[in-house]
């Protein structure tokens, strides 16, 4: 069992989340011959988590860079439907919510469905698994501006290397349609991960991802922000001082180091650290003006249980 659901945080783009979910699903397929894993009566994965985010505003260093902590509850259930000897359709329903400690209107509930059409050419150990996937997510924040839908579609592949080592890759595109058009974003992402299982101590996963598209940051108006922004709106969470949410074109590098520690047959503890670097593709229009760049760190602890 792997930590996946925590990645669905609303402020984080869901491209990675979707892909990780898919990666998880694929990993599960790869491990589906583990006896008894799907014999649990409900077959529902649930988690309770804690996350510290040192930059919930996605702001460059300075007074606009604000941190927060989140408590999360999540659940999901996956249904697998064999199609042929080598393919199957996987449907997953998931939902959850977050409570924000400092900025309560960042709290949210969400729910969605993911579908994946998966292909594995043989049952040989080293046979790769390919997948076409799509994912829909509705989310409702305390912030009216942020509530809306997200859709993700893409392809992925998982390749076992050894008994303990596997690699995973995915390409995806995500669209976000929010109540406020500033939060209407889109991005493309490419992801690769390596997982290394050290029985019985768990699994260590390293993920690297590159994204390019539009995203939203929050901060007080500055010349650089106004120069690079496509659109902005007064935020309804960070109002003292009044900040704006601004959409801009950017590229991001994300790395995640994840350690999944099995507790027993139906539960695990997952620890992860995600590091994000985002740089605007546009530069401020004044002489010597640079791009906007920010960093973000997220530390996540999740207890996963399968019922």
């Amino acid at each position: 069992m792997r930590a996946t659901i925590a990645a669905c945080r609303g402020l984080a783009s869901t491209a990675m989340a979707g892909v990780l979910l898919l990666g998880q699903s694929t990993v599960s397929l790869g491990q589906s011959d583990v006896p008894g894993l799907f014999d649990i009566p409900l077959g529902i994965d649930a988690s309770i988590g804690y996350l510290y985010d040192d930059n919930v505003t996605r702001a460059p260093s300075g007074p606009d860079k604000l941190s927060d902590q989140f408590y999360s509850l999540n659940a999901s259930k996956t249904f697998a439907f064999p199609v042929t000897d080598f393919t199957r359709l996987s449907l997953e329903a998931f939902g959850g919510g977050e409570l924000a400690v400092k900025h309560s209107n960042l709290g949210n509930v969400f729910g969605g469905i993911q579908a994946a059409f998966q292909y594995r050419g043989s049952t040989e150990f080293d046979a790769p698994t390919f997948s076409l996937f799509a994912r829909g997510l509705g989310e409702h924040f305390g912030s009216d501006l942020r509530s809306g839908y997200r859709l993700t579609a893409g392809v992925s592949a998982r390749q076992p290397i050894t008994e303990t080592l596997g690699v995973f890759g995915a390409l995806a595109r995500t669209w976000r349609n929010a109540n406020n058009s500033v939060f209407d974003t889109h991005e493309n992402s490419a992801l690769a991960s390596v997982d290394w299982t050290i029985a019985p101590y768990g699994t260590l996963t390293f993920t690297g991802e590159y994204r390019r598209g539009t995203l939203v940051s929050t901060g007080q108006k500055t010349l650089t922000i106004i120069d690079i922004a496509q659109a902005f709106v007064n935020d309804d969470v960070f109002t003292s001082p009044q900040m704006i949410d601004y959409r801009f074109e950017a590229k991001s590098w994300l790395t995640t180091l994840d350690y999944n520690l099995p507790i027993n047959a139906t539960s695990a503890l997952d620890l992860s650290w995600r590091w994000v670097q985002t740089t605007s593709t546009e530069k401020a229009s004044f002489p010597g003006g640079g791009a906007l760049k920010y960093f973000d760190n997220q530390f996540n602890v999740v207890l996963l249980v399968r019922f």
């Binding site: 409900l42 529902i44 649930a46 509850l73 999540n74 659940a75 329903a93 998931f94 939902g95 959850g96 919510g97 949210n108 509930v109 969400f110 729910g111 969605g112 509705g138 989310e139 409702h140 009216d144 501006l145 509530s147 809306g148 839908y149 929010a178 109540n179 406020n180 058009s181 500033v182 108006k221 500055t222 010349l223 106004i226 120069d227 922004a229 496509q230 659109a231 902005f232 709106v233 007064n234 309804d236 401020a284 229009s285 004044f286 002489p287 010597g288 003006g289 249980v305 019922f307």
Partner: protein
């Protein structure tokens, strides 16, 4: 496990609810793009940076208003005959920018007047003493309310040309080498550098040059004059020292540093810029004429201020402001604005501090002449001279020298304060209440039933000037009424006999038809929606049968040329203090340039508010160095012999002030 299942069920239920509620139907929060212009329409109709007298177009001869392309072309022709400065680069080259000399640059936020971030560079030619200022203006507040933003200062510091909305330039130089320097105003396209005929200084739309600049730099808004060949020329202000067309008697404005905002960025903080600002202010002071006996105000050897000519703007109030701000003859490096003119110290100093200094001073301090300086508001008495309650005609006539200009401009018409940003700041400050207290004391009605200060935008009825008319149909006019939708005229008093007929009594221009001589009074109430104006009374003196004669310039001209007005005062050879317009030639004889004479006289008529016309105000004793002229006493009822000339002038103006009798 049951607890766990309950948790899962609750989570999935919440998620399902989320799916149903996520489509909230769209946020009402306003989305802004960087291309969205600041909002500048919050205070209704555009009446900012316009002369109260806009100059009305005429056909014979063809004259044009100030806010017209013809006016702008005539101005640039006057100050740059051969188009040698029709681009920014040419202008900068002509003024020696980048060629050494004393050249300084500052950046500040203009948080009082126009709301820009301003990058200002000034240069003084060490050989000629010519001075040039170029100002890049930055405005960064997409979607915001037009006005000051700290981002605009940052843009000015960083020269972020995306937000550079205007490039203005002022040059203090003579028309011809060796002549008398005067201030010339240019406006350049911020992208191409081409000289522009129009400028939008406040987000309210473009206006033609140079009006928006002259209005607050002390410039005159005189009408153009015909050259006899179908061209319109910029007039000469006859009491100017330069005698150059284009010398509108505008001036460089003091940089009131205490009212600026500065950037925190290194190199641009106020302490770092004080010395440069002081240099600029000394440049400005160098451009002011120096009346005899007044302080030089600049360090020895810095410049020589030329002596005034005894007639022109004296510069005293502006010079004193600068001199005092630097501690007298400039021994202090820091500008400190604690200046209160001696004439304002005392009980009414708060009126100066709360109203005059923040809302009037910047423009008024640059106005006036040697013979008529009250308009610079540098004393309480001068300010008060524009707030003398009229009273009514009975029993001994209205108050001598009555004058309601402050109430009219600020409370009724809303064309003062002149700049939108200043206007908005004034009405959001304690200034209106303080001004109302002053006007209350002057007996003006400036409050509504709840004692709140009346604000412009409500309907204000104006039935035009009281008149002497003949029996028979006469068209009345309420075109000077403001902010109205509808009109209601009613007859209030009349002499015995048949009742006069009032046709189209609910229009702006009804026809009044009396068959009996005597004094009639009519009441005009204007409305805007359900809001009614205070009633305004029009007094008409009906006297005699119509003669059929159509009034024209030659009917009023003899009054201008008579001994009182012409040879003794408005004489081209008059010594100081000379008026800015003359009615007779230097030898006291008739002017031979009839159309030009007419245009200059017509220029002194305000068709939008006839009683505000200098042609009526001056001879009736308002801020006129010649005082009250015989037969212009408008404190008396129309038809009274002591106001016969006033009545004649009014009727000529009401008839459109034609040069020749209409066919």
């Amino acid at each position: 496990m049951n607890l766990g299942r309950l948790f899962v069920a609750a989570t999935l239920a919440a998620a399902a609810a989320c799916l149903l509620t996520a489509c909230g139907g769209g946020s009402k929060a306003v989305v802004t793009t960087p291309q969205t212009l600041p909002v500048a329409s919050a205070t209704g109709s555009d009446r900012f940076l316009l002369f109260p007298n806009p100059q009305q177009e005429s056909q014979a001869p063809a004259l044009k208003p100030i806010d017209s392309m013809e006016y702008a072309k005539a101005y640039y022709k006057a100050i740059d005959l051969n188009d040698e400065k029709n681009t920014l680069e040419k202008w900068k080259t002509a003024n020696g920018f980048g060629m050494g000399g004393n050249e300084v640059t500052v950046v500040f936020g203009d948080r009082r007047d126009l709301g820009y971030g301003r990058r200002m560079t000034a240069r003084r030619n060490p050989l000629t003493g010519d001075i040039a200022f170029i100002v890049e203006n930055y405005q960064v507040d997409p979607g915001g309310v037009y006005g000051f933003s700290a981002l605009s200062i940052e843009a000015a510091v960083r020269q972020d040309t995306r937000w550079r909305i205007l490039i203005n330039a002022i040059e203090y130089s003579p028309a011809t080498p060796g002549g008398v320097a005067f201030a010339k105003f240019f406006n350049f396209n911020p992208v191409t550098g081409a000289r522009e005929f129009q400028v939008d200084l406040d987000g309210r739309g473009k206006k033609f040059m140079p009006g928006p600049c002259l209005t607050c730099h002390g410039g005159r808004g005189d009408g153009l004059i015909p050259d006899g060949f179908g061209n319109l020329l910029f007039p000469v202000v006859h009491n100017s020292l330069s005698q150059a067309p284009g010398d509108t008697q505008a001036h460089l404005a003091p940089l009131e540093v205490d009212r600026f905002e500065f950037s925190p960025l290194p190199g641009y903080t106020r302490p770092e810029l004080e010395e440069k600002l002081k240099t600029m202010n000394l440049f400005i002071l160098c451009s002011y004429p120096r009346p005899a006996g007044t302080r030089l105000g600049v360090p020895a050897g810095f410049c020589e201020r030329r002596p005034d000519n005894g007639s022109e703007w004296q510069g005293s109030a502006a010079a004193e402001l600068l001199i005092e701000a630097y501690g007298g003859d400039a021994p202090r490096d820091m500008f400190k604005d604690t200046f209160v003119p001696a004439g304002w110290k005392g009980d009414n100093q708060s009126l100066y501090d709360e109203v005059v200094a923040p809302s009037c001073r910047a423009c008024h301090i640059l106005r006036g002449t040697a013979g008529n300086a009250q308009i610079d508001f540098t004393t309480l008495d001068s300010f008060q001279s524009y707030a003398i309650f009229p009273g009514d005609y009975s029993p001994n006539g209205k108050t001598a020298g009555f004058d309601d200009r402050i109430k009219t401009h600020v409370i009724d018409r809303g064309d003062m304060p002149l700049a939108k940003f200043v206007f908005d700041n004034f009405w959001s400050s304690g200034g209106p209440e303080r001004l109302a207290q002053f006007l209350d004391a002057q007996q003006f009605t400036v409050r509504d039933a709840s004692k709140a200060v009346l604000q412009p935008g409500r309907p204000v009825a104006n039935p035009g000037p009281d008149r002497l008319i003949s029996r028979g149909p006469v068209q009345l006019s309420a075109v000077a009424t403001k902010f109205e939708d509808t009109f209601v005229w009613t007859l209030v008093t009349r002499p015995a006999g048949p009742e006069p007929i009032l046709t189209n009594a609910n229009s702006a221009q009804p026809v009044f038809n009396a068959s009996v001589d005597g004094i009639y009074t009519l009441r005009l109430v204007a409305s805007k929606g359900s809001v009614q104006s205070a009633p305004a009374i029009l007094t008409l003196k009906v006297e005699g049968a119509p003669t059929g004669k159509k009034i024209a310039f030659d009917d009023v001209r003899p009054i201008l040329e008579n001994a009182t007005c012409g040879p003794s005062c408005h004489n081209a050879s008059r010594g100081p203090p000379a008026p800015p317009v003359f009615f007779v030639a230097a030898n006291g004889g008739v002017r031979g340039d009839r159309e030009v004479f007419y245009a200059e006289v017509r220029s002194r008529i305000n068709f939008t508010d006839i009683v505000a016309s200098p042609l009526l105000r001056k001879p009736s004793g308002r801020h006129h160095n010649g005082g009250l002229i015989a037969n212009f006493d408008d404190t008396q009822v129309p038809g009274d012999p002591v106001r016969s000339s006033y009545d004649l002038f009014v009727n000529w103006i009401v008839a459109g002030a034609p040069l020749d009798p209409p066919p």
